[in-house]
Homo-oligomer: 127 residues x 2
DNA sequence: ATATCTGCAAAGTTTTTGCCGTTAC
DNA sequence: GTAACGGCAAAAACTTTGCAGATAT
């Protein structure tokens, strides 16, 4: 039961497990972790750690596709906002950097993430 | 006992705890976590999750300083390589993006990270 | 028949919480 | 005296592992 991770985005392993059980009620959480780990190692899925102790997963979009986006994280309440501003310019720089790093460190690179960290307006007022 | 996180970089909470105990043997791991959490919320320390289940911490350098760097992560063996290529160009783009995001989402942004994900040469050969 | 896949339960790790004594103002 | 800090032990949360049965080649 492998073909099901075309769901949404920012899903925790448990979210995915819940979805998966709806499709195949006999699936186990272990399998979800194993599959996710495999997928992230071959670059199909991007594992994201936002610092809340729970890993999130999303489809590893090709940076050329318009779904390509990055994240803005509130370090207090852990809210995650997706953004797509300046993605064109970002892509250019990232491709250049990726190329340089691939050569220099002999990595096969298949993805990248950008996180901005800050405090959202709600948390700033509450403090 | 707060003034001690001027150590090196990519330290796990436990690494820091071990260092801290050397300075003040009565300190507890809890305090390390509490202090680190506090520091990361005010932007003094950058909490980094590289996907190995253990959070790392490093001094949140001002992006203008030359210590500013980003990371290249092997998704297999979790090796982390620091890089500083194209940091000048990156900075320009990041500042522009940061400004746009601050306004649009009313965040107070104080840091950003860029991660490239791939497979290192060692792991590629072993597979 | 052999190798791979899977679920369950148990174990492991890392991080957080509750409680209470101590320190600071 | 009251509030903030800090440590210890216990708890919690997430993820991984061992094992045995099932599936596929």
């Amino acid at each position: 039961m492998n073909l099901l991770r075309n769901t949404e985005k920012h899903l925790s392993a448990e979210d995915i497990y819940i979805d998966a059980v709806r499709i195949n009620p006999s699936i186990g959480l272990t399998t979800v972790y194993r599959t996710l780990d495999l997928f992230s190692q071959i670059g199909v899925v991007q594992k994201c750690d936002f610092g809340d102790g729970r890993a999130r997963y999303e489809l590893a979009d090709n940076p050329l596709k318009k779904s390509h986006h990055h994240h803005l994280v509130c370090v207090k309440c852990k809210t995650i906002v997706d953004y797509t501003d300046f993605i064109g310019e970002e892509l250019e720089l990232m491709q250049k950097t990726e190329k340089a790093l691939s050569l220099k460190h002999r990595f096969k690179i298949f993805n990248h993430t950008i996180h901005f960290y800050g405090i959202c307006s709600k948390c700033r007022l509450e403090a």
